[in-house]
């Protein structure tokens, strides 16, 4: 009997060597493990922050959460002080970053020559990598003495206004980059239709392109705000250096934010003395910050999904 070659070729012959298959299977499991590790990072963040924050919440006397200011080592944890300062500084930052970020986004996507764009885009990326401590130094060595002092003679050396402006400078590249992506996603046909009806460039930009990109612009604002609230070093250097903070509403005075209060507590993690809860308050503030920024980022995501026009 001499079977044809085709019939002797079984599935086992086509199957490759066990070693090659094992390597492929092993690789798959390693990749899966890495992906699981990233989820583990989130789980660990939530677990550590929540468990320590819970210790704080369950032990703190609630009337200490509303007092004259933030004095963790004396057991006074007035949250409104930090929340108001965080909000004030972030709003100043947005007042700087939104006009400038949107303006440069519109310029780069609608007006700029491609060659200009090719230079400006990497420059914006480069700006995003400027270390925040450097901007903190910039705030106290330039913004306050050279720009603000001539106009406001009674301004404090450490003040929320300079901190807010510096945070704003830091957030511009982020806002500009998200906004530019949104503007460029608007189809050319809309611009052409508008120009075909005789609209000037300014009319096309303001009445057609900007409204069409509205969801992306709003998302840029929300994400930028979230970044501004989470910014730590600028505020620690320029406004909230001490670990205590008396409640005040003036933007010419110094004031600690959620983040700078955390940094100040961290600078003394070995020597947290005085009140036992000072250390746990660090994690409580972390939980607060985590919830606020996560909430803002999810709102940003939602806006994009809800308002996105289907082209």
């Amino acid at each position: 009997m001499s079977p044809s070659p085709a019939s002797t070729l079984s599935a086992a012959d086509l199957r490759t060597s066990p070693g090659r298959r094992a390597r492929s299977a092993l690789a798959r499991w390693l990749f899966l493990l890495a992906a699981a590790a990233t989820v583990l990072v989130s789980a660990l963040i939530i677990w550590t922050v929540v468990s320590e924050a819970w210790t704080f919440i369950s032990q703190v006397a609630f009337d200490k959460l509303a007092d004259i200011g933030w004095f963790p080592r004396r057991g006074l944890f007035d949250l409104s002080t930090l929340l108001v300062n965080s909000a004030q500084i972030s709003l100043i930052a947005m007042a700087v970053a939104v006009p400038s970020g949107f303006g440069s986004a519109v310029y780069l996507s609608e007006y700029a020559h491609p060659r200009v764009r090719r230079v400006m885009k990497p420059t914006l990326e480069l700006l995003a990598s400027v270390p925040s401590v450097v901007l903190g130094v910039f705030a106290i060595s330039f913004i306050t003495p050279s720009i603000l002092s001539p106009f406001f003679s009674e301004i404090n050396f450490f003040n929320k206004l300079a901190a807010g402006i510096a945070v704003g400078l830091l957030v511009i590249p982020l806002i500009a980059s998200i906004a530019e992506d949104a503007l460029r996603a608007v189809p050319v046909s809309l611009r052409e239709a508008s120009a075909g009806l005789g609209a000037r460039k300014i009319t096309t930009s303001i009445r057609v392109v900007l409204p069409a990109a509205m969801s992306g612009l709003m998302a840029a604002t929300v994400v930028g705000f979230s970044r501004a609230i989470g910014e730590t070093m600028v505020v620690t250097i320029a406004s909230g250096g001490g670990d205590t903070s008396l409640f005040n509403l003036s933007w010419m005075e110094s004031g600690g934010t959620i983040t700078s209060a955390m940094a100040s507590l961290g600078l003394g993690t070995d020597q947290v003395a005085g009140n036992d809860l000072a250390f746990q308050s660090l994690y409580f503030l972390g939980a607060l910050l985590f919830v606020i920024t996560l909430g803002l980022n999810m709102i940003g995501d939602q806006i994009v999904r809800r308002l996105r026009e289907k082209y």
């Binding site: 492929s24 990072v41 480069l126 990598s129 270390p131 979230s226 955390m262």
Partner: protein
């Protein structure tokens, strides 16, 4: 007066009407210059920043630079203080960050793009990465303090470069994953299909075709993430980078990984918080050093991207 009854007359008159009168689009011109102003403000402040720092730090940069770069921190006098330990510490931390963040980040991206696209687990990982990317850096410091410094102290030896690097690795992980995912998605599927067609296993397709093709973009992303780690101070404060005097003694390079350490941005914070103009000069000079370092690393990344960029 043109005669309107001939076709040519009508056309000329229409062209006159439609022609933009000089100076009529004042609003448009003003708008354009407003936009240019915004762009100049957004990008030009880097030059102002660098200029201010160089002027403020000039006393150190011009007369004392070698001493400044090669000497350690000194509490006693500003003119004795240097940033040597900060530079070494920052590079060590960045090294540890890279060792942890790069393999895990790239592997996660490979899993998401090549193995599990669209599955429920992949969607969970993607959502998780997006959310992690928005978590403020100082929150990673809390994670590092509780997990890497305390729980894993057997491995990290407490407040060391290893704990600091792992903390920053968790922070930059989303950046590495996101850029690697984009790089892998840009590799055309024809490349994979061709490799499968000649009998390669999935691992062979990935390791010999897809990864080499995506590597330049992935490299750019990882280098940018390391630049971010180099400039970050907030989490390091929480996981115990020393802000004050550090004595290395005769510890060799390997031993410094498990001893006390500091980092350049943390030193800048310390300089900035000391009273007196001398310390301000130091803070400015150290800011120039870190700006040069970060801009150099970014330059490398942009060079890599332009040098090896592929068009499919």
């Amino acid at each position: 007066m043109t005669v309107l009854s001939t076709p040519v007359g009508i056309a000329t008159s229409a062209a006159d009407t439609l022609r933009r009168r000089p100076g009529a689009d004042m609003a448009g011109a003003a708008f354009k210059w407003l936009l240019i102003g915004a762009t100049v403000f957004a990008t030009g402040f880097l030059a102002v920043l660098l200029g201010v720092m160089i002027v403020d730090g000039w006393d150190v940069l011009s007369g004392n630079l070698v001493h400044f770069l090669t000497h350690g921190f000194s509490q006693r006098s500003a003119t004795d203080a240097g940033v040597w330990q900060g530079i070494i510490g920052s590079l060590q931390v960045a090294l540890v960050t890279g060792v942890f963040a790069i393999p895990i980040g790239i592997a996660t991206a490979i899993y998401l793009v090549e193995y599990a696209e669209g599955s429920r687990f992949a969607r969970l990982v993607e959502l998780n990465i997006r959310n992690l990317a928005g978590v403020p850096s100082i929150v990673y410091g809390l994670l590092g303090l509780a997990v890497f410094v305390k729980t894993l102290s057997g491995f990290t030896q407490g407040k060391t470069v290893i704990a600091g690097g792992m903390t920053l690795a968790a922070m930059v992980l989303p950046i590495v994953v996101i850029t690697s995912v984009e790089a892998l998605k840009a590799v055309p599927s024809s490349l994979r299909e061709a490799a499968y067609g000649v009998g390669a296993t999935k691992w062979e397709v990935l390791s010999r075709q897809v990864l080499p093709a995506a590597m330049s973009t992935i490299l750019t992303g990882t280098v940018l993430s390391l630049a971010r780690a180099l400039g970050e101070a907030a989490p390091l404060i929480l996981v115990g980078a020393a802000t004050g005097f550090l004595r290395f003694g005769d510890a060799n390079f390997a031993e410094t990984f498990t001893g006390p350490y500091t980092a350049l941005p943390v030193l800048i914070l310390n300089f900035a918080q000391q009273p007196g103009d001398d310390w301000g000069t130091n803070a400015a000079a150290a800011s120039v050093v870190i700006l040069v370092l970060v801009l150099m690393v970014n330059g490398v990344a942009i060079y890599l991207r332009n040098r090896f960029e592929k068009q499919w």
